[in-house]
């Protein structure tokens, strides 16, 4: 009798313990996910608010787990964050140049070349209604998106511009024929007279006609 009761007690304890361990694993996983998804390091207080008072202990446990991996849990500026292991830095070359947004003038010029090629600089200007700075074409060429085509057999024999294979590659097009036509654009809502689309404000001033925004 006594033995049985003791056994039962023990089984309960085991179950409770197993239950506790499971809950603990759940909290550890949540902690891991929170730290991973956060754009900023998270301080212990914030984490305790989500995880419970155990947060400090769990952080140490996570830190130990990741200590020898390619990603480490580090304390930085009063908070905790995952970072790639410092010793891997030489192999994880940072991008030298942070990716930049192409100016509106450059995107437009590129689009016009894509649609109207072969097209001369003068034609680009008459389509855009503003002068095209030489820098814009240079930039697009340096980037490998455009290249000079044949000279136009008209007075002055102006140079024409055409797009490159790299252009197709970059924009995931197989051929130039796969560029949506003006009618397709209209049907897709891309040729709308909506004045400004979401997020466009950062790309340049629409009203600045007559001056060319530098690339």
């Amino acid at each position: 009798m006594i033995e049985e009761a003791a056994n039962a007690h023990q089984a309960d304890a085991c179950e409770a313990e197993a239950h506790g361990a499971e809950a603990r694993t759940g909290r550890l996983r949540l902690l891991e996910a929170l730290l991973f998804a956060s754009a900023e390091p998270l301080d212990e207080e914030t984490l305790a608010g989500r995880i419970g008072p155990e947060a400090g202990l769990l952080l140490e446990e996570l830190r130990a787990h990741y200590a020898r991996r390619g990603v480490n849990l580090v304390r930085t500026g009063g908070g905790w964050a995952f970072r790639t292991a410092v010793d891997l830095a030489p192999e994880l070359r940072r991008e030298e140049e942070v990716s930049r947004r192409l100016s509106r003038a450059a995107i437009e010029t590129l689009a016009i070349i894509a649609y109207h090629q072969p097209v001369t600089r003068g034609e680009i200007e008459s389509i855009r209604g503003v002068a095209t700075s030489k820098g814009t074409l240079d930039l697009l060429m340096e980037h490998g998106w455009i290249r000079p085509g044949k000279r136009r057999e008209t007075p002055g024999r102006p140079l024409t511009w055409i797009t490159t294979d790299h252009f197709l590659d970059h924009f995931g097009l197989e051929t130039l024929r796969d560029l949506p036509s003006v009618d397709d654009l209209r049907a897709a809502g891309l040729l709308d007279s909506r004045p400004v689309l979401l997020g466009l404000g950062t790309m340049g001033d629409d009203s600045a006609v007559g001056t060319d925004e530098e690339a």
Partner: protein, 280 residues
């Protein structure tokens, strides 16, 4: 019909106090066109769409349209086209099939049933798709990505969407700024004079006017305007003493030749280096 209204009531609190026409309007607002409405009516039959009664469905739809017209509600053309088609389908289903190659009423009903099933399937698929854990909402990427020089990624971040949008907006801006009159490609007399002046030097003999006409491009209106322009141009050049004209009779071919002593250059039309641009 009543079920349909009741269903929509759940969405709109105000529907109870709305007049019948307003109620209908609210019902209509909830639909993505006549097929969507037919599907909703079909669901009201509470049977599997594969066993739906198209005849009953047509009746329901037609009574909806009749009701809408009773309250003088303006129905979109789509809804009326569908009503007309369903009325036709109904007659085909009820009357004996005529001999002929047209699809039978049964075939038409089956095609409609298929369309409804397909639309239903797509609505179901859309719901399932959007019930999935979504990135940025349920599932998250690394919050603080570290930019690595890994992919042969372009320095400039520009997507096909950016490119197309830029072009679309550029075009829209242009279209909005300028009154757009569809360009009519016509041959002007000046063009014809320039063209003839250039050609006559090479053709000292009599030749028909028709042989001077530009070939290949356009047709119809363009060809006719070219003929008219060239004819006017020959008269103009004859007046200037640069060509001679000859015609054997009314409607006979008109012959042209350059005057042997006709000067090559011309003060008025000599600027032959200028390109003739067509605007398309």
């Amino acid at each position: 019909m009543a079920d349909l209204l009741a269903e929509r009531e759940a969405d709109t609190v105000a529907v109870a106090e709305a007049s019948p026409s307003e109620q209908l309007l609210l019902v209509l607002d909830g639909f993505e066109g006549p097929l969507d409405m037919l599907l909703a009516l079909g669901r009201d039959q509470k049977v599997d769409l594969t066993r739906i009664s198209i005849l009953e469905l047509a009746d329901q739809y037609l009574s909806f349209v009749a009701e809408a017209r009773k309250v003088r509600l303006e129905l979109a053309a789509d809804y009326l086209v569908m009503a007309a088609w369903l009325a036709y389908l109904k007659s085909r289903l009820l009357l004996p099939e005529p001999e002929g190659e047209e699809p039978s009423g049964e075939d038409m009903a089956a095609a409609l049933a298929f369309q409804l099933q397909r639309l239903e399937a797509m609505k179901g698929a859309a719901a399932k798709l959007f019930a999935r854990p979504r990135l940025g909402i349920d599932v998250h990427p690394r919050g603080a990505p570290e930019d690595l020089d890994l992919r042969r990624k372009s320095v400039y971040e520009v997507t096909l969407f950016d490119l197309l949008r830029a072009y679309g907006q550029q075009r829209a801006r242009k279209d909005a700024g300028v009154l757009h009159i569809a360009p009519v490609r016509l041959y002007s007399m000046e063009e014809a004079v320039r063209r003839l002046s250039a050609l006559l030097g090479h053709m000292p003999d009599w030749a028909t006017l028709a042989s001077f006409l530009p070939g290949g491009e356009g047709g119809g209106l363009l060809t006719r305007s070219a003929l008219a322009a060239h004819f006017a141009a020959t008269l103009e050049l004859a007046k200037a003493g640069r060509v001679e004209l000859r015609q054997e009779g009314a409607f006979a071919p008109l012959y042209v030749r350059g005057r042997p002593d006709g000067s090559q250059g011309d003060a008025q039309y000599g600027d032959s280096s200028e390109e003739v641009h067509s605007h398309d």
